[in-house]
């Protein structure tokens, strides 16, 4: 497991990122770690492509740069499946954890742990973006292209983000993590529209496929601390992985979850079975030769990505949701991540017409649940 206070081997500072307050804060928080000012990030990225395992190299080295484009983007979801109208904030890219199934291994052309330091631009962009969003229940979060908290001891971003979003009552802001790096959040006051989420898996899968991530028990302990402080929580059972003993594995995880956390503090649980783009397969095979995750019946979905053959997905979802209901989680809003209308209908008996419908299901305020 990586330590909660992960420290990079080296910090590369894009010359354009020098002088920003966040750059200085990170340098202060990483005293003793060598750093280098780089004139051309492009050349740095060209160089890293020549190393034997750029992904592993990138996970140990930090790049501070500026976000030249938009920080906020709609979650792209995947073609042919139902989305949930989520918006993502691309603050930090990549993650020091090393999950075998992680799409970031091939999704990003930049393998470095990357922090965009021009936070002043973020706040301005957020102000403009949110001013244009009139509806209640908009969900936005930072954990799509990186772990929301893995670098939080270096950036202390969570404190600023919680302070910012606390005032935006009609927006649900989510920090999504697998880490136990919650010290900064514990130091701030909770708010009903701030949700801290954990990705959970069967313990056996967490151990074998989520290299460097804390155990499920540790994640739940961290979640429990935040719930105790008054934060709302979210959980993502994603990716659900078919493996020998999966029924027992997911049941144990669900029992641990519901005995650690009051279900009424859980804002939502998302479910998604293993899926990945074809290009990821050789990367997994090379970087995780011991992994057995792609030996099950994975077919090409409507989006061209590998996913389990539908009857397998149906069985996994049905079993896990039944278990959640049996164990006392029947009132927790559930949704599928990147699933088909048929699965929604067959498993949850819901017929979302589109992503707006899904958003309405998830964004129900506490106390107004069916």
């Amino acid at each position: 497991m990586i330590e909660a206070n992960f420290k990079p081997d080296k910090i590369y500072i894009d010359s354009q990122a020098a002088g920003y307050p966040l750059t200085e804060k990170i340098q202060h928080n990483t005293k003793g770690i060598p750093f280098e000012i780089v004139g051309s990030v492009h050349e740095l990225l060209e160089d890293i492509r020549t190393v034997k395992d750029p992904v592993s190299f990138g996970k140990k080295n930090l790049l501070l740069t500026v976000q030249k484009g938009e920080f906020i983007k709609p979650c792209p979801c995947t073609p042919g499946y139902i989305g949930c109208n989520y918006f993502i904030i691309n603050l930090d890219l990549n993650c020091p954890l090393d999950c075998s199934y992680c799409i970031l291994q091939h999704y990003l052309s930049n393998p470095f742990l990357t922090i965009h330091v021009n936070r002043e631009d973020l706040w301005a962009q957020l102000d403009t973006f949110l001013a244009n969003q009139k509806r209640d229940g908009l969900r936005i979060g930072t954990g799509e292209l990186g772990d929301s908290l893995a670098l939080d001891h270096l950036t202390e971003s969570s404190k600023d983000l919680v302070s910012y979003f606390r005032k935006k009552k009609n927006v649900l802001f989510e920090l999504k993590t697998k880490t136990i790096n919650v010290e900064n959040i514990l130091a701030v006051e909770p708010a009903e529209n701030i949700i801290v989420s954990w990705s959970l898996n069967a313990e056996e899968m967490a151990e074998s496929e989520e290299r460097g991530a804390p155990s499920i028990a540790e994640r739940l302990e961290a979640a429990q601390k935040l719930a105790g402080k008054g934060f709302r929580l979210g959980f993502h059972f994603d990716p659900i992985i078919l493996h020998p003993g999966w029924e027992k594995g997911y049941k144990t995880m669900i029992k641990s979850l519901l005995s650690s956390v009051d279900p009424d503090r859980i804002a939502w649980i998302s479910l998604g079975t293993l899926r990945f783009a074809p290009h990821l397969k050789p990367i997994i095979r090379k970087r995780f030769p011991e992994s057995r995750i792609f030996y099950e019946e994975l077919i090409r979905g409507r989006d061209g990505k590998f996913r389990y053959f539908k009857p397998i997905r149906f069985r996994l979802y049905k079993n896990i949701i039944d278990c959640l209901r049996r164990e006392g989680g029947g009132r927790i809003p559930l949704y599928f991540c990147m699933e088909s209308r048929e699965i929604w209908q067959e498993v949850l008996k819901k017929k979302p017409r589109g992503k707006e419908d899904v958003e309405r299901t998830i964004s129900l305020p506490l106390g107004r649940r069916a």
Binding site: D47, T50, P54, Y295, E297, G301, F309, K310, R315
Partner: protein, 318 residues
């Protein structure tokens, strides 16, 4: 470079240190030299009193076939092998495209001549239209390590890079029984077959030989009535069944349900790819109203058969 006339036997053909091409036919070149002579002489360089070919192996071999003497050559005065090779490589680059095997040979030679790994990746791979990454460098090095007889087969059948990428991941013992199955297939099927076999091997901890010796597969492979292509196709089907048992069962159930309906032959019915949803598609052509109504009537008749609902039951998930 000076041009010089030499006797053909002055060439040291046993030293192939600069050679990158192995599989070619000399016929057209011989015809051309006979007709117009040697327009572009080979490049040679002297080593220990012998003349080695740096560029133009094909031309030199064609001239030897023709016993052309004296043979005009360009004499490259360069004692450093890497520099000599680089010169010939860069010169070649401007006049022709390299095959996958030639590219792999170039990379191997560069390594042999002491060029650094990083420089090869950053400088030479882009020149060879190969993405400049360590993975591609390793892939081409692995291709260059294949046995000559494997390379010849790959050359003859024009095996694509996507399939080679898979192929080199097998051990030499595992590759050997694969070639007869692989080569009759089209390029896409080659890649799919290798992927399925590899996953069956890795998931079951089995060798290729063990997989192919299993029951029905062995019978197909030993059958004397099937052509190489028929064998390869049949093996592909059986391996798919092993690799995707649930999907195969659903496909078989669909075919069987369709058979019970005596489905009209000129109307195609198909489920969505991989049964991702319950929709089905029918497709037919018609050239007149009468023809159209005839097809519709045939569909009505099929739908009236009691077993029609079974088609949909094959696509139930629970």
């Amino acid at each position: 470079m000076k041009i010089k006339d030499i006797g053909i036997d002055e060439l040291e053909l046993g030293d192939e240190r600069f050679r990158i091409s192995y599989f070619f036919s000399l016929d057209s070149l011989i015809r051309s030299i006979k007709e117009v002579g040697l327009v572009n002489p080979p490049v040679v360089t002297a080593r220990s009193g012998r003349l080695l070919i740096v560029a133009g192996w094909k031309r030199a071999l064609a001239c030897r076939e023709l016993s052309l003497s004296p043979l005009p050559v360009f004499l490259l005065e360069e004692a450093d092998d890497l520099k000599a090779f680089r010169m010939s490589f860069l010169e070649n680059l401007t006049v022709r495209r390299f095959s996958l095997l030639e590219k792999s040979e170039i990379i191997r030679k560069l390594v042999g001549f002491g060029e650094g790994e990083k420089k090869i990746i950053k400088t030479y791979l882009p020149l060879l239209a190969i993405p400049p990454t360590y993975d591609y460098y390793t892939l081409f090095m692995n291709i260059s390590s294949l046995k000559p007889e494997e390379k010849e087969l790959i050359h003859k059948k024009n095996v694509p890079l996507a399939a080679l990428q898979r192929l080199v991941e097998f051990t030499p013992e595992d590759r050997s029984p694969l070639y007869p199955l692989l080569l009759p297939l089209g390029q896409n099927k080659q890649k799919d077959l290798l992927e399925i076999i590899q996953e069956l091997c890795l998931s079951g901890g089995l060798s290729v030989k063990e997989i192919l010796e299993d029951g029905e597969l062995k019978t197909v492979l030993l059958s004397g009535n099937l052509s190489p292509l028929q064998k390869a196709d049949k093996v592909n089907q059986l391996l798919n069944k092993k690799r995707f048992p649930l999907l195969s069962a659903r496909q078989e159930a669909f075919v069987s349900a369709k058979k019970k309906l005596a489905w009209p032959k000129d109307i195609k019915i198909s489920p969505t790819p991989f049964y991702e949803d319950k929709k089905m598609f029918i497709e037919f052509s018609f050239q007149s109203k009468k023809d159209f109504l005839k097809k519709i009537s045939a569909l009505h008749e099929a739908a009236a058969i009691e077993d029609f609902a079974e088609l949909f039951e094959t696509n139930e998930d629970d």
